[in-house]
């Protein structure tokens, strides 16, 4: 019998892609379909005084508007349940959605948006995590009691430790310190955010989605629309690139709300400009490392402090701080580790998962440290990593036990392919044990 696992085979669904036949969400064009666009906050932080649609309503082709008052169910969404679907009394980042205009085409929407009179009181935003973290700092949002995320009631630092890092640093022959900033990137999938919603023959709300995680998002949407799960047909499975950005709801809620209000098919999409400026991103981490090592190259300690800029809403950021912390010491056996992580709100669009989600933010500084450690000790870059790489049974800082360790295999393979000859004593090492 042929064994298929292990076989190189072309994509099962690939013929559709090469024919240009595969239907992405934006490819759905329905008779009588309306378009929606968002009225956005022009300021980084503000209090909404009033929104006057009367002039905008007169633009020919405008069908109507959707505000927070039109939301049948939950007005908050997001992985932390703290993000406004549509801003009501305050906005917390530039570009935050305040209302939708619904019209026969997007040009009409944009014309109508220009005529909406938004009276918003601009407030002083806070962009810097460390300013936001200071006691008495202006709150990023009025519903917060502080700009620091609480991992547990009253606890704003997630501490994860193994062994005794002070003892480990004291034992070290060298200590290498570093401070690292991992910048903000956008998923920039070739397919910008888009959603199409309409009612089917049985008055069930159909939503065509590019979600990466239908199960999570369906629950959230049902709660916003106040519909039972079985009254929504959430149709996905074709995504023009996700990279984590489509784990967060950017369009389905708006298409659905507009369809619910006007009982016509609605398409809501972000232009590339809106996608680049306002969609969730890979948020910044700043990390400080103190790595202790002995003369023979064995790591004795790793002490990390890290701060993550969550933007204005939690999203996946608290989870991300913990995930980063767990793996920010890389694939290395270090008997004494301590990580202290904080998640801070600022007046910017929210951070979310992006390829390498928070892991990259820890691998980068750890590898920089390893490169510096090798220089400090006067040891070969490969040797340092071979000595310290995990073996089966080693433990990460959060006390998970490593099984199926493969760092040595990856390094051996890469060196060989790159034409780098590693010395025999390194090649003789095994991930299965020391």
């Amino acid at each position: 019998m042929t064994e298929y696992v292990g076989m190189a085979m072309p994509r099962y669904d690939g013929i559709g892609q090469v024919k240009g036949q595969t239907k992405f969400v934006d490819d759905f064009v329905l008779p009588g379909m309306l378009y929606a666009k968002a009225l956005r906050s022009p300021v980084h932080k503000g209090l909404i005084r009033s929104v006057d649609f009367s002039a905008a309503k007169k633009v020919p082709g405008v069908v109507g508007f959707v505000t927070a008052d039109d939301i049948p169910g939950n007005r908050l969404f997001g992985a932390c349940g703290d993000q406004q679907v549509l801003a009501e009394s305050y906005t917390a980042y530039k570009g935050e959605d305040i209302a939708l205009v619904v019209a026969v085409d997007e040009d009409t929407c944009m014309e109508a948006l220009e005529k909406v009179k938004l009276d918003i009181e601009e407030q002083e935003p806070v962009f810097d995590m460390f300013e936001a973290a200071k006691p008495g700092a202006p709150l990023v949002r009025p519903d917060l009691k502080s700009n620091m995320w609480e991992f547990m009631p009253g606890v704003t630092t997630r501490v994860i430790y193994l062994g005794d890092v002070d003892k480990g640093l004291a034992e070290a022959d060298y200590i290498v310190e570093g401070r690292y900033t991992t910048g903000e990137q956008d998923h920039a999938a070739m397919e910008p955010m888009v959603s199409v919603a309409y009612f089917d023959d049985a008055e069930r709300l159909v939503i065509h989605t590019h979600s990466q995680c239908l199960q999570f998002q369906l629950g959230s949407l049902a709660s916003i629309f106040d519909l039972p799960l079985s009254r929504i047909r959430y149709i996905g499975g074709v995504v023009g690139g996700g990279f984590g950005g489509k784990n967060h709801i950017h369009a389905d809620h708006f298409a659905g709300l507009a369809a619910l209000k006007f009982r016509r098919p609605v398409k809501y999409r972000l232009s590339r400009r809106e996608d680049l400026l306002y969609s969730t991103k890979r948020g910044v981490f700043i990390l400080e490392y103190k790595t202790g090592v002995k003369k023979d190259g064995r790591l004795t300690a790793n002490y990390i402090k890290l701060w993550h800029d969550a933007g204005a809403y939690g999203g996946f950021s608290p989870y991300g701080v913990e995930k980063c912390s767990m793996f920010a010491s890389g694939p290395y056996h270090i008997p004494n580790m301590r990580v202290e992580g904080q998640c801070v709100f600022t007046n910017k669009a929210g951070s979310s998962s992006m390829r390498g989600f928070t892991i990259m933010n820890g691998q980068f500084p750890m590898e920089m440290q390893m490169t510096k450690v090798a220089e400090a000790v006067g040891i070969d870059q490969w040797e340092l990593r071979f000595i310290n790489a995990w073996r089966d049974g080693d433990m990460g800082v959060s006390r998970y036990v490593v099984r199926g360790a493969g760092a040595l295999e990856a390094m051996t393979g890469a060196a060989k392919l790159a034409g780098i000859e590693l010395p025999d004593h390194l090649l003789a090492m095994s991930s299965r044990g020391r």
Binding site: R11, K19, G20, D27, M190, V239, G240, R272
Partner: protein, 157 residues
């Protein structure tokens, strides 16, 4: 103001009513139901809207529809008129020259235009010519390989 635009689309004559500001991409996707060319940026930066206009690759998102009057437009849908895949389509599929597939229609049109003008391009020539088509999934290596395979005659029509 609306006018009738007449042009040849994938080998067949077509007439459609357009305004002066509509782009070729708008007309293809929203009026003619030709959704192969994609809307990735509306700014000419990404290449997902690439079609061939009289054999030349153009950004349909920046092409005013009325300027194609009387001319030949080829989209990905026109690559397999009788249902048989074009050699480039077969090569892309077998070499894994795409992942999400969103950039693929545009990539294929640029690749066709390349091989029509330079049937035996070097690796550098391929990379330079194709560099206007972005692929966030990062299938560049495989695209180059697929184009080289077609150029080498591995996929005879």
């Amino acid at each position: 103001m609306k006018q009738i635009l007449s042009f040849t689309l994938n080998g067949a004559p077509v007439d459609v009513i357009v305004t002066a500001t509509e782009t070729l991409l708008d007309v293809l996707r929203e009026k003619l139901g030709v959704t192969g060319p994609k809307r990735g940026c509306d700014n000419g930066d990404c290449g997902t809207c690439t079609v061939l206009l009289d054999g030349e690759p153009v950004r349909s998102c920046l092409t005013i529809a009325l300027t194609v009057a009387g001319r030949q437009v080829l989209t990905v849908e026109g690559l397999s008129p009788d249902g048989d895949l074009h050699p480039l389509q077969k090569a892309f599929h077998e070499h894994g020259a795409f992942q999400c597939g969103f950039c693929t229609p545009g990539m294929l049109m640029s690749a066709k235009a390349l091989l029509d003008t330079n049937p035996n391009p070097s690796r550098v020539e391929i990379r330079e010519y194709m560099s206007g088509n972005l692929c966030r999934c990062g299938s560049y290596e495989e695209v180059v390989e697929a184009i080289q395979a077609v150029a080498a005659g591995e996929y005879k029509e």
